[in-house]
Symmetry: C3
Subunit: 351 residues, 3 copies
């Protein structure tokens, strides 16, 4: 994609606290400090790359207000409170070009049930299927090949990327963004073992997704056995994440890629799970608790706690044990030596 911003346009987007230098360049790309070329905009997002600022070829650099250096000839420094936030503003502007707003309306190939309600400002793409009694809110956008089952409700400004499936009776509030291949409302995993066979327990609840939730590609959210599986407001879920039936995920939760939350577990607000972490079923993870990448959470976690490892234990303890484990070979040697010394002492002290 081609972008082209003048220095003035970037200044208008970023609204810097101060500027140093100037550049005649047109910004045609974004790049890290080390790889930027003239015409690129770059930024100092992490203090450990500080030393790269002096050498960067970027035409514009976003820097923290207390950054001491001076720009090169033809280079513009924009001093801001938080360079990563300033960069996000630039990216948001570019995003409008990457994903231009579609025209409202239903594509002629889409199949929409006669009693479905599509808001006039909504867009339904090619090869979409919208079931009976479904509702699609204002400005919501179903990209191509999306499936929306019967009785589904989508609020305003939802964005369902190609190949998303929202099954019967599930509800999305406003500004929910579902990436390609997301499945909402698949059956929960529930069986009764009867006569040597696993007999299915019908899963007849639904999924409710509150406003400003984003769910990554190919993640799956199971419908409740009955009642509801809920994803709270502002929660962000990465790719290939599994949420079991009857989970209650709080608000502003972060679940990184490939996390799995087993059925009926509650995550309170602001919980964070690192990549590939998992939680067993029927647990309560307290507000703001954090589980490290690959952590295996098998019991309730107190609010604010930070756990790690499998089984997950308090982070500092887990780190300490991980280091001591590497000293196990030495510990065994030390115990061998102690036993030998004791033997010698016992012999010498024997009458």
């Amino acid at each position: 994609m081609q972008i082209a911003f003048s220095a003035d346009e970037i200044v208008a987007i970023v609204q810097p606290k101060a500027v140093r230098g100037s550049t005649p360049a047109t910004i045609t790309g974004l790049a890290a400090l080390a790889t930027a070329r003239p015409g690129d905009l770059s930024f100092l997002g992490n203090p450990r790359y500080k030393s790269e600022v002096a050498a960067t070829l970027a035409s514009i650099v976003l820097l923290p207000v207390d950054h001491p250096g001076e720009p090169k000839e033809g280079q513009l420094f924009l001093l801001v409170d938080k360079p990563s936030v300033a960069l996000a503003k630039v990216c948001a502007r570019i995003e409008q070009q990457l994903w231009p707003r579609p025209s409202p309306g239903v594509h002629p190939t889409a199949i929409v049930a006669p009693d479905a309600e599509i808001a006039p400002s909504a867009t339904v793409g090619p090869f979409c299927v919208v079931g009976a009694r479904a509702r699609v809110g204002e400005r919501s956008h179903l990209e191509a090949q999306v499936f929306v089952g019967h009785g589904v409700e989508l609020g305003a400004d939802c964005w369902l990327m190609p190949g998303v499936r929202v099954l019967a009776e599930c509800r999305l509030a406003e500004r929910v963004r579902l990436h390609p291949g997301v499945v909402v409302g698949s059956d929960g995993f529930g069986y009764e073992f009867v006569g040597g066979r696993h007999e299915k327990v019908a899963q007849v609840g639904r999924v409710e997704i509150e406003s400003d939730v984003e769910i990554g590609a190919n993640s799956t959210i199971d419908r409740a056995r009955f009642a509801v599986t809920r994803i709270g407001e502002g929660t962000k879920i990465d790719n290939l994440v599994q949420i079991g039936h009857n989970c209650l995920i709080g608000r502003h939760v972060i679940l990184c890629a490939q996390v799995g939350i087993a059925g009926s577990t509650t995550l309170e607000d602001y919980v964070v799970f690192g990549g590939q972490a998992g939680a067993a079923g029927h647990l309560v993870i307290g507000k703001g608790a954090k589980a490290g990448g690959k952590a295996g959470v098998s019991s309730d976690i107190a609010a604010g706690a930070y756990v790690n490892g499998n089984p997950a234990i308090p982070y500092m303890l887990e780190r300490r044990i991980a280091i001591l484990q590497q000293r196990l070979p030495d510990l065994f040697h030390r115990v061998d030596a102690l036993e030998a010394q004791i033997d010698t002492l016992k012999k010498s002290s024997a009458p």
Copy 2:
């Protein structure tokens, strides 16, 4: 979805051993004991929630036959052998409303090869593609946007949810249920390292899925290098599970979400893998063996064994070690102290 059952209708579905009390309420929802309101049906599925029965507002409660309490005014207790099974019966009835049987026939937008055979009672939804020589059995239902490749055989009463892909030559027996995004028959992962490059080994086998198998959303089952990858009768697979090429999965196996089974591994009947567990390739996991959540199985497991941890070891040993690991900091202190005491003793016993 609206439900409405009279107390008499619930009694007819559940067929209780005994009843206590009565209710004039119409049942319009299902809920847990603690959150139920009048008009809800609830149940005691787990003895640890026993104390919640007395306070529940549910109009009907499913209880074990030996439950001692009495219902409130306007409340009906149904006493059954297993409340969870009784609940499953109610859910199964509701499921018929959630997923009404579709009309037989091929949607006008579906593309079906001229030599494919679709049973007269089968349903093929919008935007489906059915390849040459494929066969779809009686009452099988392809929801929207399903892909069935050439030479695929589906038996009777299969149910393929939106976006399922069954690739060429794979076979499903009867009553197989595939949730959205399931892929059956993707290539196995096989390469020969030749001249500094990974040369693909063509994967020309197939997948065979026996009767009464259910596979969760976005799970993937690879076709065999040659011969067959098999999923045995009655096996239940959760979401985002990966089954490698040439695996032979037995009957009535349970694989929870995000499990991965590497190529050519055999799981005998009644094996259970917890969520995010994995097995290396070319193993044999004996009948009824069980691997805990996140277990990493790297060697054969005897029939009936229960393993846990990574690498997976017998469950009781793993639990004991997990506890001892938390005492490692203390153990190092104790060994430090022993060494100091030995030094003292050696000095004092020196001549």
Copy 3:
């Protein structure tokens, strides 16, 4: 699928160094030594199955040149440098039958933007969507229900299986094979925490996939925040793998199923990750480094190193610690005993 090869045809495909015996059989299947029946071709791929050669019923057996045994009556031994490579040649021939080349052209149901460029020899299947300015190279094949976003570039001989989604502006070089449900170009997972909410950082970069890459079913490759997420030439990625934004995956890398690589991590050429392994973000994994199955890589890995466990440490150390951990119960007993003996010694040496 029916196959039928004469012994002469198999010899022509395999080009053996030497032959022993002969068979009048028509080869109609491939099978392992132990399960092969007359009419099957089999092979000795792993020396540990050597003893099965004498008893196999296969009509043709691929064997290493130094294999000593003689065929049975009506059995043909083909002696080759590497039986697995010879088998791969047979499979490659069968693959042509399993996946016959499609006719070039755009299916009448496909929706192709007027300014997209589809090479005359390319194939676009039913219900595909190809966006504005997209380019599809010679002989590339979009199977059914594929989505190719605006500005996407596909080189020659790419093969996108049913339900693949390649989002806006991403680029694939030549001979890239994407299995069903793969998502290329989903948003990276990036937020700024502002005022108690996770504010989205727009993800406006792209994904570039070099030639001869293969990506397994339902895997997801996120677009860069800005700049590029790159998958290097010849790299092979299994099913349900997650590649975060801005990752730079080298050439000829192997990532087994359910691997997750967090954002901005670099994997140099020839890196290998076992199944369910993961790497944290912003790391550099050196050329040819290897991480075992389920490894949790949380720091940079030197070129050529082999790590295992979580947190991942050098393989030999991890193996040794895993064994010592199983002796922890014994170690605690030994330290208990030492303490008791010291007490006794102290008392006896006391004046």
